[in-house]
């Protein structure tokens, strides 16, 4: 499913992490932990194909869903328009109503995203990540900025999602889903 061999990345100042290897099978939940600045988000961005690591190799499945705190949504589009746009670009069937109801955003239809709270945006990003029917889901701080209902949503994804999940978190509660942990 996902194979990482000797991954390393550095910015100008020096290596952020090096010699990291991991394999995650379908159904696996890999927790990436480590203190602030240890490279958790960079590691996830590398796997998501948003950053070329300076060394190492990543073999990832074709369909990858990615959601992160620093990812933003278009302020002048509605949630359904986001889902339609993403579906057309990724070549999947646009089913905005279905996905919005799955993440509890069925009542915000027609509202522009600049009126969304941080938690609502996080839910939309989850819907966008799930929409392409990914084999691998990458979540950076999945429960940050979510209310109790949002945390339940993440809990249900973590429990029921059939593919592999790689997620970064320092929240003790989030450890419960992990089958493996990688400390950076």
């Amino acid at each position: 499913m996902l194979k990482i061999e000797n991954l390393g990345h550095r910015f100008d100042q020096g290596w952020l992490f090096r010699h990291v290897s991991a394999e995650v099978e379908s159904g696996g939940r890999l927790l990436i932990s480590g203190r602030n600045g240890s490279g958790k988000s960079t590691f996830l961005r590398s796997i998501a194909g948003l950053l070329i690591p300076r060394e190492g190799e990543i073999i990832a499945p074709e369909r990858v869903g990615y959601s992160a705190l620093d990812l933003n949504v278009y302020p002048h589009l509605t949630a359904s328009e986001h889902l339609e746009f993403s579906a057309l670009l990724r070549g999947v069937k646009p089913e905005p109503t279905k996905w919005l109801s799955q993440v509890g955003l069925e009542n915000v239809n027609g509202k522009l995203c600049n009126a969304f709270s941080t938690g609502m945006r996080a839910r939309l990003k989850i819907a966008l990540a799930l929409q392409c029917k990914p084999e691998l889901l990458i979540l950076d701080e999945p429960t940050a900025s979510l209310d109790d209902a949002g945390r339940e949503l993440i809990d249900s994804i973590m429990t029921n999602f059939g593919g592999a999940v790689v997620y970064a978190s320092n929240d003790e509660h989030d450890r419960r889903w992990a089958t493996h942990e990688l400390v950076l």
Binding site: W15, H19, V20, A22, G34, R35, S38, G39, A178
Partner: protein
Amino acid sequence: MKQISHLLLGLAVAGMLIFTFLVPDAQLFMEPSLARILFTHVPCAFLASIFIVSSAFFAGSFVRKGTDVAAAKMHASIELGTIFAALTMATGILFSKIQWGAWWHNDPRQISFLIVLFFYAALMALRGAYNDRGRMDQSTAWLSISLVLPAIFLMFVFPRLKFVEQKSFHPTRTIPEGQLDFAYSFGLWGTLIVLGWLALVIFSLRKRVELAERALDDNYGHDETGSRGSALDGVVRPVAVSEKD
């Protein structure tokens, strides 16, 4: 062998420099001794043109193969081309002031070469704007490829358009039609060959420096991971949570 070739180059540069001062002053010039500027101005313009084409060639090679060598050659071409374009412009402006009476003459060829200098400036500006080496190489390569056709037009086609030939003070047919006297002709081709040789040596050195910098950067970078758990030696692998707990 390399030392001998460098010695020969040094002798050739010195010989050509002496020769350019020994040739007699040219006639029909406001300042006859200034005609010698030809020995710097024309070869520099020629080399600036060659380097913009070579930068695009190596850029194409980099886009296809993605090797550091192609990237290093592309960057060396851009840097040397910028220097030669700036020298062409500086010598041209100086000549314009003394021969034609003004620093800037709106001569079509002055303008077209100024645009070529802007091309180089754009390439240099783009190179400096990326911290990420991979992106810097890629974007510079694409810009270099995009600029080559307009540059060829400006340097080789535009000066030969009839209305430009009529308006320009630059002679376009003097050199190709052999109207220069022997001493000036020899001096011009001689400086072109010697300067070209010097440029090739600098090009090769610059390429090697670039590659060495990249090798150093990749292999001996300061390791930030040492203070934390991530590995300096060995490989970091995930631990099964059940095993840990």
